[in-house]
């Protein structure tokens, strides 16, 4: 089984070498999609052993992930892992993420910060943003997953083939979850650890996600 790790990166020169070299022992191939960084992200990722593609214009994380998926599908990947470039995920947890697919129990696996493992989530995020996001995804979108905004996921070839990411920015997290349910894929959640170096998505970003989801649902 060929496992390809797709890492979208934008101005991540500080972290990318460590992330790529950390991930490499757990996958067959690491693909970094440099989303038009103005620093040395591409060069450093190449030096660390990744296959690198560079968007000529900044298009957002969702767009970079779909570019990576297209490459991985073209190059016969059996499992695609999405992994962040900022070093907030633990590479050794990749094996827990791909296990349900390797065992034939799931088509798509979502990482979750709320299933036991400890993440140093900022309090504002933990007690306000996350409960709001969880309520929105459960009540409005009908998604029953514990973590509505997690970028650590693994998908089988079938899942990647059936889910086309149209939201080029942060709404892709919810979009992938929605499409997984719509496509009736076998979905599993796996507890993961997230090490926060910065706050990440703010409350205003949440409203942008809702707006993007609505627009993309209308234009299909």
């Amino acid at each position: 089984m060929k496992i390809t790790c797709v890492i979208p990166a934008y101005n991540e020169a500080k972290n990318i070498s460590l992330v790529v070299s950390g991930v490499r022992p757990f996958v067959d191939e690491v693909v970094v999609i440099d989303d038009c960084s103005s620093d040395d992200t591409s060069e450093l990722a190449k030096q660390a052993g990744a296959i690198v593609f560079r968007h000529p214009l900044n298009r957002g994380q969702g767009a970079a992930l779909q570019t990576g998926n297209d490459y991985a599908l073209e190059h016969q990947a059996d499992i695609i892992v999405h992994f962040d470039a900022d070093g907030q995920f633990l590479p050794e947890e990749i094996k827990d993420m791909v296990a349900p697919i390797l065992e034939g129990r799931a088509d798509i696996v979502f990482g979750s910060r709320f299933l036991g493992k400890k993440s140093n989530l900022p309090a504002f995020k933990k007690y306000l943003i996350m409960p709001l996001a969880q309520a929105f995804t459960r009540v409005i979108l009908g998604i029953k997953l514990s973590d509505p905004q997690n970028g650590f996921r693994a998908m089988s070839r079938t899942a990647a083939d059936r889910i086309r990411i149209n939201n080029r920015e942060m709404a892709h997290n919810s979009e992938i979850q929605i499409k997984s349910f719509q496509e009736k894929l076998r979905i599993t959640e796996v507890p993961i650890t997230v090490v926060y170096h910065h706050f990440g998505q703010k409350l205003s970003g949440g409203f942008q996600v809702v707006k993007d989801l609505l627009i993309h649902r209308i234009i299909k």
Partner: protein, 106 residues
């Protein structure tokens, strides 16, 4: 009455401009039809403003016909902005697809 005449003159000016643009093939048939319909409806609304006043009163609104037209115009503007946003989103999606093709074909 004078205001109505001025408004009609302005509309006639825009209709002439529209026809000229059509002749020079600056706008498509569909655009021409849409804008012509818009100006004709605007002219009709101005000519029959008294009847609109009566219609508005009959519908139970307290304002005059011109107020009613402004409400309709605001609603139409909201709708146009919404359509514009959808078109921009479609264009944005196409740009992303082109960028992806360029990125992977290099």
């Amino acid at each position: 009455m004078l205001q109505q005449i001025i408004a009609i003159i302005i509309i006639v000016f825009f209709v002439f401009r529209l026809v000229a643009q059509k002749k020079k093939k600056i706008i498509s048939n569909n655009e021409f039809s849409l804008w012509l319909a818009f100006w004709l409806v605007a002219a009709a609304a101005i000519i029959f403003i008294k009847q609109i006043d009566r219609l508005v009163a009959w519908l139970g609104f307290s304002g005059t016909g011109i107020n009613f037209l402004i409400y309709i115009a605001v609603l139409a503007l909201f709708y146009l902005v919404f359509r514009l946003q959808l078109n921009l989103a479609k264009m944005d999606r196409n740009i992303t697809e082109i960028i992806r093709q360029i990125t992977l074909k290099k």
